[in-house]
Symmetry: C2
Subunit: 328 residues, 2 copies
DNA sequence: CTGTTAGCGCCTTCAC
DNA sequence: GTGAAGGCGCTAACAG
């Protein structure tokens, strides 16, 4: 590997001068600058970022911990993060947990060892152990998607979005509304969205049958199964269903289609996510857009402003908007 | 930051002993080992990967250059890469080009500077400049999706997949088949898939009207526009269309639906991609599954075997399979 | 404007 | 079994 020393020799200057030229810090004569540039161009020399980081303590790398990259939500968030970071010359080091909570903690350590300049955590839970580990960190961290006390959070407004969506269904005349959720350990998606639904139902004095509430994981098939459960076990069949993610809704749709249950006539469907595909399924889905890319961008922005300074505690709650389509 | 020196002092041993304990290289007495472990547990010390890399020349990081992360194809590839790499303790450093060819080259340099142990390039073109840059690399690199002479390639069988899909449409009785492609600079998706289509048509002595061949970019809307063009400008309307990606097909579907043109009766649609959603659109899409996750895994596997050894030149052509659904 | 020097934190001989 | 010493490639005073 080519080092600064060899470049210096070839250009007949000292290493410091090359370094100065490289970082354009301090004075370098035009003459020297030219010779150095020439040598670099000829050799294709690239200074070792590791040696640099070792000296400067900065890496220009941000660690991104996420539960999976196989969802549109995640990729949009990452795209948003990247968009913001790349303008400042930062890169992303991926840490994919595959929904394994232990790995979440492990990766915090690994990223610390790699001395990333900051971490963005796309969280699915608010485990105390994780929280504790994070609080011990000296580098800035931003949490997306779950509220963690005392940290910088970029949050979706799960509770209100959920209430609004439920309210919309009620407005449309529905009284019997089913709910397809996920595990409540995921406080944002599991707990808050369910609470929003329940509270809105209660506010309208509408009762909820136990069979109407089903739980899936984050995939299409479990949405299908949930709707199957709802449809086959409900004494009193609901006329609408609220799924906490588009995928769950799409699964539900697929069950209904196969059983010739018409949407929205016999069963209306609404969800949260606004995935690209939500408008191309049959019928197009009424859904809430969370603007995930913006979330990523915002998180990256917050992180960058916190690098080098003491992290301000901050809670950023993002906007959402209801997209009304034919499924309701 | 905590360093090995401080750990050594706290454990009453020398830095070398700590280092040995950390890497379990050489002999360390049980006694010393225990003290060191205790101190590390108490302090949460994590050795600096940069200092390590500077010495050992290995980073346990792989650079992944991709055109975008906002497609299912990309995220599946990355997921596959990650699955394989993480078993060996490697991590991914992302380099997103946003389809900017200049950045592709730039990122090769950047990753080199970061001294990644290897690079996986998800390629969209075979630009000579890029090729030249790559050939100058001393670290292993694996190319996914485009054939580049003299390198390790993981390829989809675009030409044959395309012929087979066209052949399938012909078998189903179609004689007038339209084609929605992309720019041919993308040799795999643009050129080869088109060639497969054309050759198969010719092999069956079927003629192609110019208006049947349209071009889009990689999004849904351009598929819609392409079908619009086909439908409105064809003198002799086709009875089927082959779109080179699922998204393009979904766009086409959406146009047809809005214009009450029934699928597959008036117009059959088939495509390549087998995206998760392809089975939930209306009607479900006949498509070819390329197994992108496997591509990523395979690429990562090849890369890992090439680290440390002289890279064998290799061409791995992946399997595909036709998924027949109601759109044809 | 330029060169000398001293580490950054770690691993790795080489003695002991 | 363990420690001392040197150096990976770079930057940042400091002296000229």
């Amino acid at each position: 590997m080519l080092t600064i020393k060899e470049i210096a020799e070839m250009a007949n200057v000292s290493r410091s001068t090359v370094s100065r030229a490289l970082n354009n810090s301090g004075y370098v004569s035009e003459d020297a600058m030219e010779r150095i540039k020439k040598v670099i161009a000829e050799t294709g020399y690239a200074p070792s970022e590791h040696a640099k980081s070792l000296r400067t303590k900065r890496t220009k790398v941000i660690g991104v911990i996420l539960p999976t990259i196989q969802t549109e939500t995640s990729s949009k968030i990452v795209a948003g993060i990247d968009k913001e970071l790349s303008t400042q010359g930062y890169q992303i080091l991926l840490a994919n947990t595959n929904l394994d909570k232990a790995k979440e903690i492990e990766y915090v350590d690994l990223l610390k060892a790699r001395q990333v300049d900051g971490i963005i955590l796309v969280a699915t839970n608010t485990d105390p152990l994780l929280l504790k580990k994070i609080k011990g960190l000296t580098i800035p961290i931003v949490i997306i998607g779950q509220e963690m006390e005392g940290l910088v959070n970029v949050l979706y407004d799960d509770y209100h979005a959920s209430r609004e969506l439920t309210s919309f269904l009620i407005e449309k005349g529905h009284r019997k509304i089913a709910f397809i959720g996920v595990d409540e350990e995921d406080r944002a998606v599991g707990f808050l969205r369910k609470k929003g639904y329940k509270d809105e139902m209660i506010a309208h004095k509408l009762s909820i049958e136990p069979a109407w509430i089903q739980k899936g994981i984050f995939d299409i098939d479990s949405g299908r199964q949930a709707m199957d459960q709802i449809w086959t076990t409900s004494q009193n069949k609901p006329t609408a269903a609220f799924a906490v993610t588009d995928r769950l809704a799409i699964g539900a749709l697929s069950f209904l289609k196969d059983h010739k249950i018409s949407v929205p006539e016999q069963m209306a469907i609404a969800s949260i996510g606004a995935s690209e595909i939500s408008q191309y399924v049959d019928p197009p889905l009424t859904t809430i857009d969370y603007q995930n890319e913006k979330a990523g961008k915002e998180a990256a922005h917050q992180l960058l402003t916190n690098i080098g300074t003491k992290a301000a505690i901050k809670k950023i709650i993002l906007d959402y908007r209801l997209i009304i389509r034919d499924s309701v």
